[in-house]
């Protein structure tokens, strides 16, 4: 199966790969997937004044899973919480030109975004 140029580019030059400390001020962490299924994504956002100022990811999975999470961090940066909620897996599919068998990678990325946002919200609310 051939990968799209964009998937290859994200795979070879992943954007924002890495981690924030989970307990750092304003950080929300989302971890989705399972090792048995062959993909696990960790997506983190750093929020200041309701805006995502930075994002990072680490992914265990195929090239499309890595590319989906790399792209997600790129899109998250600079968005407000409200705007970030609007990112849909179909946007990722379109941007990366994912074939049908790889759509679950984009679903996982959307789940990771939602999980990171929810984690941030929970931490903010508990203050």
């Amino acid at each position: 199966m051939a990968y799209s140029d964009k998937v290859v580019d994200h795979f070879n030059n992943p954007r924002n790969m890495g981690s924030f400390k989970k307990d750092e001020e304003g950080v929300g962490t989302g971890m989705v997937g399972a090792p048995e299924c062959g993909d696990v994504m960790k997506l983190q956002i750093k929020v200041q004044n309701d805006t995502i100022v930075d994002a990072k990811f680490k992914t265990f999975g195929c090239g499309s899973a890595i590319a989906s999470s790399s792209l997600a961090t790129e899109w998250l940066k600079g968005k407000t919480i409200e705007e970030a909620q609007q990112i849909k897996n179909t946007d990722i599919v379109q941007e990366l030109n994912l074939p049908p068998v790889k759509i679950h990678c984009s679903v996982l990325a959307e789940d990771a975004i939602k999980a990171a946002l929810a984690d941030y919200q929970k931490k903010a609310d508990s203050k």
Binding site: V32, V40, F60, V107
Partner: protein, 405 residues
Amino acid sequence: MKLPIFLDNHSTSPMDQRVLDAMLPYFVEKFGNAASRNHAFGWAAEEAVENARKQIAKLIKADPKEIVFTSGATESDNLAIKGVLEMYKEKGDHIITSSTEHRAVIDTAKSLEAKGKATATYLPVDKYGMVNPEDVRNAITDKTVLISVMLANNEIGTINPVKEIGKIAKEKGILFHCDATQGVGKIPVDVQDMGIDLMSFSAHKIYGPKGVGALYVRKKNPRVRIAAQIDGGGHERGMRSGTLPVPLIVGFGKACELCEQEMATESARLTAMRDRLQTEIMKSLEESYLNGHPTQRLPHNLNISFAYVEGESLLMGMKDIALSSGSACTSATLEPSYVLRALGVGVELAHSSIRFGLGRFNTDEEIDYTIKKVIEIVTKLREMSPLYEMAKEGVDLKSVQWAAH
């Protein structure tokens, strides 16, 4: 050194130039039908086929008359299993096979089961992927008509104790079929010594052409009979009708001859290269695990799982090296390798496996390049892996509540 490098010789192999040279006259110049008994064109074709039959038989210590040509090992497996079950249906309908067989065997058995034409026992294997001959013995019932166990596995290269299984089959008077596709031409095969009654193999795994294979069918002690699965002109002693593909058969013969002549030196060369590949990779990368038997394995096979990284991404990171993976993402079924699962390898590690298949035309320089690339990409992807990060932090990954999807 030319890129990309081909290290997927279990899937197929490049044809040897000497094989092609032997085949070429049989396309245009000597195009006859080997079944044409009344003219020179037919005689030339028949002579070429009979010569190839001898070359092939010699490699496996059989009589040339015991070679039945097919389109490949998949057809041979189908013909052997369906042919025996149909021919001996008065005697019984039970087949014993193993859980790591090629799908050409497992799915043939399953299809017969589904049609109510057979019952099958799929024997487990040990943690190295080996069938225990005593398990074979214990599975035999008075309805058993066929034992089908492979010589060597296509993913992990483990070589089964075929001779012991052959002995049990003979003792109990049950026919023994062996799918030897991965082993013929690579390791010594002797159908007499191993007690094999039917054996499948093909040309394209041994530097011959695609589209031709053979089924060895024993002629005496016992004389094995199989029901033909293709009706027609009654070629191949009635067991497999269809005009013989003369050029392919000539190539198959030449490929077998070359394997026979060069096996000893080639197997030593491949073993040395494979061992170096294994040692260098495993000493540089912690938590890399060998799949399959440490010693009882094909000389050109290496299968390693690299914990915390996924197989398809490894392949993607080594685009200039042709390899294969047991990862779900690389399979048509979207399930991780059933062979590795049968060995008791965890699903995570099955997703992380890479199969290296060395061959006649690989060089030391290519192996050096591969060692370097594998270490580079595994290190890079582990840096990217949340699982590796957690493991490094001391988190027990088994204790984590994952959200399976």
